[in-house]
C-alpha cells in the first residue's frame, strides 16, 4: 500500500473521493447558512428581484362561529387582502453554488399584526420540462419542515427554497422560473438565469466556521497533513482555530506542530497564529514535565470548502533538525466530517 496522509480518499472511487453529498435531495450546500438564515439578504444580491402580489386573508376566519367573541375581527380577516412584496434573492455558498431565498415583506407597519394578515401563496417552479410545487422552510438544512399554502403570514419572513418532498430535485443554480400564486386568480413570475458566482464576490474566501474543520493535505506530497478544528468559544463573538500539523523533522522522522488562536466570528482569514511545539514529553501520558516552545507563526484562509491556503514562518533560532523555514501552501480537504458536510 502506498502511504499517503489521504488514506480515506484512496479507498474511494475517483469521483466520489472526498466529496460527500450530505443528501441527494439537498438544494444547497449545508455549510451555506453556518451563521444563520439571513433576513435582508436581498440587499446584498445584485440580481435580487421584487414584485408585489396581493394575498388574501385567512379563509378559516370566515367559518368562525357568530357566537364567538372573535367573530367581528374574524369577519374583517375573512375579507382581508394585502399587497405584500415578494423578493427572490440568491446567497453565495462555497464551490460556486448558491442558495435561493424567498422573502415576503408585509405592508409597512403591518408586520406582527395577528388580527389582519395575508396567507401564504402557492409556489411552484419550472425548470426545463420539470414542473413541481416546491418546499419552503424558515430553518436551514431541513428535510421535512415546510410552510403550507394558506397558512397565516404574520411577519416579514424569509424562507429558503428546498426540493419537493418525494419529487425530483431541481438545480436552483441553473435557470428556472418561479411562480407565486395567490390562489385567487393572480400570480407573479420570477425568471432566474443561471447562477453566476462572479457576481457574488462575497463568497470568497469563506467566513471561518465549524465547517472548515477537517483534515487537509497536499496530494502531491504524501505522508503529511494538518487536522484543523474550529471551536466555539461560547461567548457569541469569537471562535478558536486549533490545528495540529503532522509533519517531519530534517531527518525525516515524525514531528508535530500545534497552532491555536481565537478570532472574531465572521473573519475570513486568521493571521499571526502562534505555533508551538513541545519537548520532554513521553508516550501515552508517561511524563511529568513538558517544555513548550514557540516555533513560529501561521496564517489561514479557506477559499472554498475543499481548499485551505496557509503560510508559515519559523522562528530564527530553533533546535537542530527542527522543521524550519517559511512559505505558503495550498492544500486539499481529505474528507467531509460526518454531520458537518462542507460543500
Amino acid at each position: 500500500m502506498k502511504f499517503r496522509f489521504a488514506l480515506a480518499c484512496i479507498s474511494l472511487s475517483a469521483s466520489a473521493a472526498c466529496v460527500h453529498a450530505a443528501g441527494p435531495a439537498r438544494a444547497y450546500p449545508p455549510s451555506c447558512f453556518a451563521d444563520g438564515l439571513p433576513l435582508g439578504q436581498a440587499a446584498k444580491d445584485p440580481k435580487a428581484m421584487s414584485l408585489p402580489l396581493t394575498l388574501h386573508g385567512d379563509f378559516n376566519a370566515c367559518f368562525v362561529n357568530p357566537a364567538a367573541p372573535s367573530y367581528p375581527v374574524a369577519q374583517q380577516e375573512c375579507n382581508y387582502a394585502e399587497a405584500v412584496g415578494i423578493t427572490i434573492a440568491r446567497v453565495p455558498c462555497s464551490g460556486g453554488k448558491s442558495a435561493t431565498l424567498f422573502q415576503l415583506t408585509r405592508v409597512a407597519g403591518m408586520s406582527g399584526n395577528t388580527d389582519l394578515y395575508p396567507t401564504f401563496p402557492g409556489v411552484w417552479v419550472q425548470q426545463g420540462t420539470h414542473i413541481d410545487w416546491i418546499r419552503l422552510a424558515r430553518d436551514a438544512n431541513t428535510t421535512a419542515t415546510q410552510v403550507f399554502v394558506n397558512s397565516p403570514v404574520y411577519d416579514d419572513s424569509v424562507y429558503v427554497l428546498e426540493n419537493p418532498i418525494g419529487g425530483a430535485a431541481f438545480d436552483y443554480n441553473r435557470a428556472f422560473t418561479l411562480t407565486v400564486d395567490n390562489n385567487t386568480g393572480r400570480a407573479v413570475q420570477f425568471d432566474l438565469g443561471d447562477y453566476d458566482p462572479a457576481v457574488y464576490p462575497a463568497a470568497v474566501p469563506l467566513p471561518i466556521s465549524g465547517y472548515q474543520t477537517g483534515a487537509w493535505y497536499d496530494p502531491a506530497h504524501g505522508g503529511e497533513g494538518m487536522l484543523v478544528e474550529i471551536l466555539d468559544d461560547g461567548n457569541g463573538t469569537t471562535r478558536t482555530l486549533f490545528a495540529t500539523w503532522f509533519t517531519f523533522d530534517a531527518l525525516g522522522a515524525p514531528y508535530w506542530l500545534a497552532a491555536q488562536k481565537s478570532f472574531p466570528i465572521g473573519a475570513t482569514r486568521i493571521d499571526d497564529v502562534p505555533v508551538q511545539t513541545a519537548r520532554g514529553g513521553g508516550f501515552a501520558g508517561n511524563f511529568t514535565a513538558v517544555t513548550r516552545a514557540p516555533w513560529g507563526t501561521m496564517s489561514f484562509v479557506f477559499p472554498d470548502c475543499g481548499t485551505m491556503t496557509f503560510s508559515y514562518a519559523a522562528a530564527a533560532f530553533l533546535p537542530a533538525n527542527s522543521p524550519a523555514g517559511s512559505g505558503a501552501r495550498t492544500w486539499q480537504r481529505l474528507g467531509n466530517v460526518a454531520n458537518l458536510g462542507c460543500q
Binding site: G36, G112, A144, T240, T244, F283, G335, V337, N339
Partner: protein, 414 residues
C-alpha cells in the same frame, strides 16, 4: 350518541365524565355540540409569532437577527443535545420521517379525539409521548441543569390503520400545552405554549394548530427561542394537554421524570454510535493538553460506512514530538471500533520542502487501537504497538480515558 353501558351504571360522577367525552364509543363520528368550537386563530397567531424571533423586523433591510440557527446550536433554548438524532437523520433522498416512527422506551399513551376538517366531527388517534436516550456526560447544560440523564422527548400521533393517509376526512393538529413546575395551564403569560417540530435541531419550525394530520407523524418537543416564554425541562416530569376545541375536548397525559434503566432505555448505558459529533480533540486533563488525540469521523458517501481518522500527537523516548495515525472504516451505527491499524510515517520532509524525501515516504505499521465513546465528552481507547523502524520510537500498550477539548462550531456534541 351511544355510551357503553358500563359507564352508565358506574355512578353519577363516571356517568358525567363519560357523557362529557362523546367519543368513547366509536373511533370517528360527530361530537355533541353544546358550545361553539374554540377559535384557535389567536392561539396559532401567538405561537407563530413566538416561533419567529425576527418578528420585530419591519423591513427587508434588517440585518441578521440576533437569534440565528447557528447560535442556537448551543444556545440556552435547546431542549436536548444537538447530537442526539445524528443517526436518525435521513440519509436517502426525500425521506419525510426524520424522527423515529416506532415509539420506544417507556410509553405514555392515550386515545385522543381530534377535531377534523368536517365541522363538529372527531377522529380518535393514539398519542404517545416517549423519550430517546441521548449522550449523558453529566455536564450541566441549560436543558439539563442537574447533569442527570439526558433524553429527547417525542410525540407520536398515530392514526388508526383504516384511516391512515385519508385526505378527505382527517384530524387536525390540536392546541397543545404543557404544565410543569410553576408553569400552569392557561396562565396569563402564555408560558404553557410549546414548540413542536417534525424534525430535530430546528429553531423556528413549528406545527400549526388546525393543520391537517394526514399521515401518522412523530414530532419532537422544543422550546421557543424567546426569553419571555416558558422553558420546559423535558427530562423532568410534566403534564401535556391536547385540546380539540370542543367542550370537554381536552385530554392530558402525565409524563414522569426521565429515569432510564437498563431495561427501559438500554441505549443510555451503552457507548455512543460513532458519528461526526465524535470528531474532536481529546486529552488527559491530569497531564495537561501537552499530548492529545485528534479524531475526525468522516462520511464515506456510501450511506453505509464511515471512516475514523485519528492522529495521536505524542513523544518518542527522547521526549521529541512524534505522531501516529490511525484509520479505519466501519458500519454506520457501530459503537466500538476494534483493531484499527495504527501507522507512522517516515522519510518525508516539512511542508514538502526540498530536498525531496529520500528514501520515499514510507508507512510503517505501529500496532492497533480500539476506540469507543461513553458519551460526548469522553473517549476510551486501548493501544498496543511499537515504532521499531526508528530508534526510540513510542511503544507500549494500555488503556486510557481522555476528555474532550473544546466544542466544534456547528457540531456541538453534548
Amino acid at each position: 350518541m351511544s355510551v357503553p353501558s358500563k359507564y352508565i351504571v358506574a355512578g353519577t360522577m363516571l356517568l358525567a365524565s363519560a357523557l362529557a367525552l362523546p367519543v368513547i364509543a366509536a373511533d370517528r363520528g360527530p361530537v355533541t355540540v353544546d358550545a361553539p368550537r374554540a377559535d384557535f386563530s389567536s392561539v396559532q397567531a401567538r405561537r407563530a409569532v413566538l416561533a419567529a424571533p425576527r418578528a420585530t423586523a419591519t423591513s427587508a433591510t434588517v440585518s441578521t437577527a440576533a437569534v440565528t440557527p447557528n447560535v442556537l446550536t448551543t444556545s440556552s433554548y435547546r431542549a436536548y443535545p444537538a447530537s442526539c438524532f445524528s443517526d436518525t437523520l435521513p440519509t436517502i433522498a426525500n425521506t419525510i420521517q426524520p424522527l423515529p416512527v416506532s415509539p420506544s422506551g417507556t410509553l405514555y399513551s392515550k386515545t385522543v379525539p381530534l377535531g377534523t376538517n368536517s365541522q363538529n366531527t372527531y377522529e380518535n388517534v393514539m398519542i404517545t409521548i416517549f423519550r430517546v436516550a441521548c449522550s449523558s456526560s453529566g455536564d450541566t447544560l441549560s436543558y439539563n441543569p442537574d447533569g442527570g440523564y439526558a433524553g429527547a422527548t417525542l410525540m407520536r400521533i398515530q392514526r388508526q390503520a383504516q384511516y391512515e393517509g385519508d385526505t378527505q376526512l382527517y384530524p387536525q393538529f390540536p392546541d397543545i400545552r404543557i404544565a410543569q413546575g410553576s408553569i400552569a395551564f392557561d396562565n396569563a403569560n402564555f408560558t404553557d405554549y410549546v414548540r413542536i417540530a417534525t424534525e430535530p435541531n430546528t429553531v423556528v419550525a413549528d406545527a400549526s394548530v388546525g393543520a391537517a394530520v394526514i399521515n401518522s407523524t412523530t414530532y419532537v418537543l422544543e422550546n421557543y427561542a424567546s426569553p419571555s416564554l416558558g422553558f420546559f425541562y423535558f427530562n423532568h416530569a410534566f403534564t401535556i394537554r391536547f385540546d380539540n376545541g370542543y367542550q370537554n375536548g381536552r385530554v392530558t397525559i402525565d409524563v414522569p421524570d426521565y429515569v432510564p434503566t437498563q431495561q427501559t432505555y438500554p441505549a443510555a448505558f451503552k457507548p455512543m454510535a460513532i458519528n461526526g459529533y465524535l470528531s474532536g480533540a481529546w486529552y488527559d486533563p491530569s497531564a495537561g493538553s501537552r499530548e492529545g488525540l485528534v479524531t475526525q469521523v468522516l462520511d464515506n458517501g456510501d450511506g453505509a460506512t464511515r471512516t475514523l481518522f485519528a492522529t495521536w500527537y505524542t513523544y518518542d523516548q527522547l521526549g521529541l514530538p512524534f505522531w501516529l495515525v490511525a484509520q479505519g472504516s466501519f458500519p454506520i451505527g457501530s459503537t466500538q471500533l476494534n483493531n484499527v491499524q495504527v501507522l507512522y510515517a517516515t522519510g518525508s520532509s516539512f511542508a514538502a520542502q526540498p530536498p525531496p524525501p529520500s528514501p520515499a515516504v514510507k508507512a510503517n505499521v505501529w500496532g492497533t487501537i480500539n476506540v469507543s465513546f461513553s458519551d460526548c465528552q469522553h473517549i476510551k481507547f486501548d493501544f498496543n504497538g511499537a515504532a521499531s523502524a526508528v530508534q526510540g520510537g513510542p511503544q507500549g500498550s494500555g488503556t486510557r480515558n481522555w476528555t474532550r477539548l473544546g466544542v466544534i462550531n456547528s457540531l456541538a456534541c453534548q
